[in-house]
Structure formats: structure tokens, C-alpha cells
């Protein structure tokens, strides 16, 4: 497709500067339009569900501890290699016990791979995005910090935290069969594979 150019201006338009006047009229009109500015610190942006912000370890309501089972999947997948877990095997139960769980948040690239692969929904990137600090140490998260982050996030979200679903825990449009048991959460109908949004033309065909 060849581009169509607008016609060249004629002499009268040149003398009257009509195209410049049009532009001026437009900016003048915008002078009275409503500004789109958001006065940020006072007016927080609306954070969408599933935002990949500060890290947190979900506190298990029953035990009060982290849900992590030290499967090392998050460590394995992390592309920036910022998660470090130390654990030991509990001989009696045959399960792993987490000794330390550290995230170097300054190395993190917030890809969300860790919460995606976590089989038990233990790790989450919360919707908190303001946690800048003046020193590196305060953005190095150990297990206590991560659990505290979760508490802060829970307080921010309020009562709804029990039913909090991160799309990374239960991705929209993924069938239940491919998810681990802990990830098979109840989600809005729209998120299931049956409740998908389809296009108008497809709708008519059906």
C-alpha cells in the first residue's frame, strides 16, 4: 500500500498559516481539558492483580510458618540466581526442613518464574512496589523478612487475604489437570478454561 500524503498547502493557506493555526487551536482546546496527571505519593496507582512486586513467603495460617518444602524448583529456575535456600533432611518425617531462605532482591528481575513453578504456593511477588531503601542490606530478604512482607501485604489487602489468588498461582486459562494440588484454587469462572473470553465472530459461529 502506497502512502497517501496530504495535499500541499496553497498560497492562501501559506499566508494565513492555516495549518499552524489548526495546531494552535488544538493546543488551546487541550488547555481546558482535564489533566491526566496522577499526584503520585498521595494518589496511588491502581495495582492489578498478579503484579510482580516485592517478594514474600506466604505464612501458613495453621502453622504460622512458611509453606516452603525446599523442593528447590524456584532456585533452579531463577534466571538471575538470586534465591538461596539451605535445608536439611528431617530423618523422622522424611521431609526437608528449610534452614534459611534468602532472596537478594537487588538481583531479582521480577520475572515471576519462581512463583510460577512453586508447587505449594509458598512464594509470591506481592503488589507492594515501594520499598526502596538507602542501603543494600535492607533489600536483602531472609526468611523472617519475607514472612513479614507477607504480613504487611496481608494487612494491606485486608480481610480478602484468605481468598487472595495470584494469577501466577492459578493461571488464567490453564486447565486444572496440569496444576499441582495446591495450585488448584477456586477462581472466578472467567479464569477457567471453560469461561474463556472469545471473539465476536467466534461467538456468532457457535
Amino acid at each position: 500500500m502506497q502512502i497517501q500524503y496530504k495535499p500541499k498547502r496553497n498560497l492562501l493557506q501559506t499566508i494565513l498559516h492555516s495549518e499552524i493555526m489548526q495546531g494552535m487551536a488544538f493546543t488551546l482546546k487541550q488547555l481546558f481539558a482535564k489533566p491526566i496527571t496522577r499526584q503520585y505519593p498521595q494518589e496511588k496507582p491502581e495495582i492489578k492483580l498478579g503484579f510482580r512486586g516485592q517478594h514474600a513467603l506466604v505464612r501458613d495460617q495453621e502453622t504460622g510458618q512458611s509453606k516452603c518444602v525446599a523442593c528447590m524448583r524456584c532456585v533452579t529456575v531463577c534466571p538471575s540466581r538470586c534465591i538461596h535456600i539451605r535445608f536439611h533432611e528431617d530423618e523422622d518425617k522424611g521431609s526437608r526442613v528449610v534452614d534459611s531462605y534468602d532472596i537478594e532482591a537487588l538481583r531479582c528481575v521480577y520475572c515471576g518464574f519462581c512463583e510460577e513453578v512453586c508447587p505449594v504456593n509458598a512464594l509470591i511477588l506481592t503488589e507492594i512496589f515501594e520499598y526502596a531503601a538507602y542501603d543494600r542490606e535492607s533489600i536483602f530478604f531472609d526468611q523472617e523478612r519475607l514472612l513479614a512482607n507477607w504480613d504487611a501485604f496481608a494487612a494491606m489487602k485486608g480481610v480478602a487475604i484468605n481468598s487472595y489468588i495470584n494469577p501466577f498461582w492459578r493461571p488464567r486459562g490453564i486447565p486444572e489437570s496440569v496444576l499441582t494440588a495446591a495450585k488448584r484454587l477456586d477462581v472466578p469462572e472467567e479464569w477457567t478454561i471453560e469461561g474463556q473470553v472469545v471473539g465476536n465472530l467466534v461467538k456468532q459461529d457457535q
Partner: protein, 322 residues
């Protein structure tokens, strides 16, 4: 005693002008902000009203950096030259009948002289900083001022011919109190030329080449910081105001308006000046920037011939109508 009164008058004018400069920046930022669907300054004071004050305080306390390779004396003097020249030209501006510091007979010429002098500040700043960007900015400014000074001077010749004087007060009086008497109607070509040259003289968009930000970083004041930078800024805004005032005096009938405002005689003058300033800002919000050679060719090939033609035309009309 007379000198004392004069000094007090100067001080008052100086204070008012400085306040004006401060709030002209605020005015500009607000207008441009809203034209760009944002808000402009909002933080300091109610709707950012104290922002200019905060800016002033900030620039006073910022470090005054002098580049190692700079010519220190000239580098320090350049902003002062700019500001002094601009401030001096305020002396002959009649804000209302009798509201003028020095009612001299060659007011118009005096203002031209001063605004040309101010460009020395810019050129010296560009040279003395010993940086390539500032140097280019200085060169551009020099070329620009030389070409547009001519066009502007010629455009005002028509006004001089009609009024028969160079005294600014008398030019206003020659236009009479009525709306139809304003020289903008008989001198429409001159007004057009004057307006374009005015933009170029004050380095405003679309002729802001000496400080074209995306090309020369900040042009002639790239190396300046703190108060010295602020002085350039002040000079620019005073320059805008002086040019607007000349426009008001020569073409829009000065302080005359539809009705008298007894409490504050310069009311209409201020309104008209701010109208000019608004158009300055409005243009800045709308137009792209010319290239250096295009700017020169407009100056020499369009504006100067137009202004000369206008003189001839005015002369003919004057000769035939008496």
C-alpha cells in the same frame, strides 16, 4: 531629593519585575502543563504557587561551578551583562501615562541598543565557557540576533513614520484611545514581521536555536549552574517582557483600553503584555523548531523584504493621505 525618589522608583520597579519574572515562569509552566494535559507545578504551596520562590532559593544555594578551562572573568560577567542590559531597557517603558522612569525622546532606539547589548552576554557566555556546545550556541545566537535585529528595526520604521516620533509615550498617544486607532491595523505586515522577530530575539520556540535542548544540550548556558544560570533565565524572561511591552506600545495602543481603571492605570498595559506572553507560551507548546539555516533564510529572505516593502507602502500611503 529628586535622585532619592528616582532610586526608590527604580527599586520598586526592580522588585516588581523580579516578582514578575518569578511568576512568569510559573505562568509558563502552568499553561504549558495544561496544554499538555498535565498539571504543571503542584507541590509547593497551593497549586504550586510558591514554586518560583522555592526555585529561586534553590538556585541561590546551588554550587556555582566554573569550568576549569573557562575564561573566569568573562564567564562570571556574561550573565550580569545580559541581566543589566535587559533591566536597563525597562527604564524607558511607559507603563501608563506618566508611569515611566526616563521619558527620553529616543526610547525605541535605546531599547534596540540594549537588547543588542544583551546578546553580547550570550555570545560571551558561549565563548567563555570553553565548551563546544556553548560555543555553537553563542555562534547561533550571534547570527540570529544580527539578522533579526535588522528585521525588527525595519518593521518598526512604519510605526515611527505614522507616529512621527521615537518617544514611546508619544507613540502610544499617537494611536489615540480608540480601538481602531491601534497601529496593528494599518501596520499588519509590520506587526507580523515584528512578532516573528520578537520570537527570534528572545530565543523562543520555534527559534530557540541558541539553547536548543535536543541539539546543543542547553546551548550557551550549558556550563552554567546555580545563580548564574538563574540570571540568564531572568534575563530571558525580562527580555520577553520588554519585547511584549514594545509590541503593546507600538501596535496595541499601550495603556489605553476600553475603559479607565482608576486605581491601577497600567491595567490594560499589563493585560496586553500578558496576552503577548500567553501567545509566546502557546507557540512554544505547539510548534517544532526550525533548523539554523532555515531560520537565517526566513530572516533574510522573507522578513527583511517584507519589512522594507512595508516601509515603502507606508511611505506611499502617508504621502497620498497626508
Amino acid at each position: 531629593m529628586h535622585v532619592l525618589i528616582l532610586l526608590i522608583e527604580i527599586l520598586i520597579l526592580f522588585a516588581i519585575i523580579m516578582l514578575h519574572v518569578a511568576y512568569a515562569t510559573y505562568f509558563e509552566r502552568k499553561i504549558i502543563g495544561h496544554m499538555q494535559v498535565r498539571m504543571g507545578p503542584m507541590r509547593v504551596g497551593w497549586h504550586g504557587l510558591l514554586q518560583p520562590i522555592a526555585d529561586g532559593i534553590k538556585s541561590f544555594f546551588k554550587e556555582d561551578i566554573v569550568p576549569e578551562q573557562a575564561d573566569v572573568v568573562t564567564f562570571r560577567a556574561a550573565p550580569i551583562i545580559c541581566l543589566t542590559a535587559m533591566l536597563t531597557s525597562l527604564a524607558v517603558l511607559p507603563f501608563a501615562k506618566g508611569w515611566v522612569l526616563a521619558d527620553i525622546n529616543i526610547g525605541l532606539l535605546f531599547i534596540f541598543a540594549m537588547s543588542s547589548l544583551a546578546s553580547y552576554g550570550v555570545i560571551l557566555a558561549g565563548w567563555a565557557s570553553n565548551s563546544k556546545y556553548t560555543f555553537l550556541g553563542g555562534l547561533r545566537s550571534m547570527a540570529q540576533v544580527i539578522s533579526y535585529e535588522v528585521a525588527m528595526g525595519l518593521s518598526l520604521v512604519g510605526v515611527m513614520m505614522l507616529s512621527g516620533t521615537l518617544n514611546l509615550t508619544k507613540i502610544v498617544e499617537a494611536q489615540g484611545g480608540s480601538f481602531a486607532g491601534m497601529y496593528v491595523f494599518p501596520q499588519i505586515i509590520a506587526f507580523f514581521v515584528f512578532f516573528i522577530s520578537m520570537l527570534a530575539e528572545t530565543n523562543r520556540v520555534p527559534f530557540d536555536l541558541p539553547e536548543a535542548e535536543t541539539e546543543l544540550v542547553s546551548g550557551y548556558c550549558t556550563e552554567y549552574s546555580g545563580m548564574r544560570y538563574a540570571i540568564f533565565f531572568m534575563a530571558e524572561y525580562i527580555g520577553m517582557m520588554v519585547m511584549s511591552s514594545i509590541g503593546t506600545i507600538c501596535f496595541l495602543g499601550g495603556w489605553n483600553g476600553p475603559f479607565e481603571v482608576a486605581v491601577f492605570p497600567p491595567f490594560w498595559f499589563v493585560v496586553k503584555v500578558y496576552l503577548f506572553m500567553f501567545v509566546f507560551i502557546w507557540i512554544r507548546a505547539t510548534l517544532p523548531r526550525y533548523r539554523y539555516d532555515q531560520l537565517m533564510s526566513i530572516g533574510w529572505k522573507v522578513l527583511i523584504p517584507l519589512a522594507l516593502g512595508n516601509i515603502v507602502l507606508t511611505g506611499f500611503i502617508k504621502a497620498f493621505t497626508g
